[in-house]
Amino acid sequence: MIFARRVLAIAWKDLIAEWRDRESITAMCFFAFLVLFLFSFALNGDQALIRGASSGLLWLAFAFTGVLGLARSVQSELANDCLDGLLLYPAEREAIYLGKLLSNFSVILLVELISFPLFAILYNMDIWSQLPKLLLITVPATLGFAAAGTLLSTMTAGLRAREAMLPFLLFPLTIPLILAAVRGTEVVLRRESFDLAVPWLKLMAAFDVLFLVGSLLTFEFLVEE
């Protein structure tokens, strides 16, 4: 129980800091909107084309936005040596990882939830009747993305080229996750039988388990001095 409270304390600290200036969320929402907006120019405004590609576009927008959020989250820890302070916190390293993961996950998920209406309006999609199923896809996908992202952004935090390195490491590793999310979303938006999305859900579950367990086992090594 103490462990859970420590995890929550770390996540709470990040979320309060985020709530006070709302910088990341604002930037991420605006960015997601912009990406969704710009995609329609890439597809020449062709309605049929846009509808066909919409779930892919949605998840690309989320992936870009997620990287932006992860980068900002690390940046906030680097300012004033906050990371060193965080490591002095008398908790297991796993609690620190889970706390950071929880806050990253919540921020990215919130941005995704805010982006859904924008997506529905811009691409003229009816997502409201499908919302529960959509969430069933979105939550595990976001969890996996945040799990991998939290681990990798800890690695790249100290680098000079961290803005470039994070996507370079994160995107190839998360391709199966993004692919699964895109296919799953497609099944939902096209109102096909949800059975078709089940293999993709299993794939996401495998990915989530791999990255959660892998991160918990190795995080300790990444932050040691």
Binding site: L151, M155, T156, G158, L159, R160, A161, M165, F168, L169, F171, P172, L173, I175, P176, L179, A180, R183, P199, W200, L203, A206, F207, L210, F211, G214, T218, F221, L222, E224
Partner: protein
């Protein structure tokens, strides 16, 4: 010195093996009934991809050993193996591309195994870039070990995802349960090349390890000099 001797023996064996491999691949083995001479690309392509998987498996094992035991030696092997694996993956994609042009009619298709291999290449390019960018050697070694382990474990998931996504590649003919479907002469040529490439990998790894050892020695000498 013993390493140097092993390296020399490996080098000579690899050179002989590759010559034999070229002979059996280009002259001894019969041309393919359907694809003709182009199919001889297989004798280069399949060993390359096989060795790159072997190299990444060694990266995985050595990364675990490094995190566990903290000996520089393990990391040196992981790093060297990752470099060779990346090179071989790139070559496998290049040879596959040259093979694919006449048989599939395109340099590149978004076929499952092709895509998975390209993703693998990207992951390990990231691995090498990360290693080059982290200034502190032991931190770089730790980061790359974690990446090497997770990257390797991610391979089956990547593979599954792209297989479900699409598939066009001819199914694997040797590493498949049941009857082997390759003509015996062709199989022999392939296995000869495979053996030659294993030797080549061993040779490159030994050479690369010696380079790493020399670099460490130089580093220690410099520190001694500064004192």
């Amino acid at each position: 010195m013993i390493l140097q001797r092993i390296e020399r023996v490996l080098g000579v064996c690899a050179a002989i093996g590759l010559l034999i491999g070229l002979y059996v691949g280009l002259i001894y083995a019969p041309p393919d009934a359907v694809q003709g001479e182009v199919q001889r690309m297989m004798y280069l392509h399949v060993p390359l991809i096989f060795i790159s998987y072997l190299a990444f498996l060694i990266v995985f094992v050595m990364s675990i050993l490094y995190l566990w035991r903290r000996s520089r030696q393990y990391d040196a092997i992981a790093h060297s193996s990752a470099e060779i694996g990346t090179l071989f993956t790139a070559l496998a994609i290049a040879t596959g591309s040259i093979w694919g042009r006449p048989t599939w009619g395109a340099w590149w298709t978004w076929d499952a195994r092709l895509t998975a291999t390209a993703i693998l290449l990207l992951i390990f390019l990231g691995y090498l870039m990360l290693r080059a960018l982290v200034e502190d050697e032991s931190r770089g070694a730790t980061f790359c070990s974690v990446l090497g382990i997770i990257g390797f474990l991610d391979i089956p998931i990547i593979h599954m995802s792209v297989v479900w996504w699409r598939t066009l590649h001819q199914p694997a003919s040797i590493l498949k349960p049941g009857q082997v479907m390759v003509a015996p002469d062709m199989l022999m040529a392939l296995l000869a090349n495979l053996a030659a490439f294993v030797l080549l990998y061993g040779y490159l790894l030994a050479k690369r390890l010696r380079l790493e050892g020399a670099r460490e020695e130089l580093f220690n000498l410099r520190i001694e000099l500064l004192r």
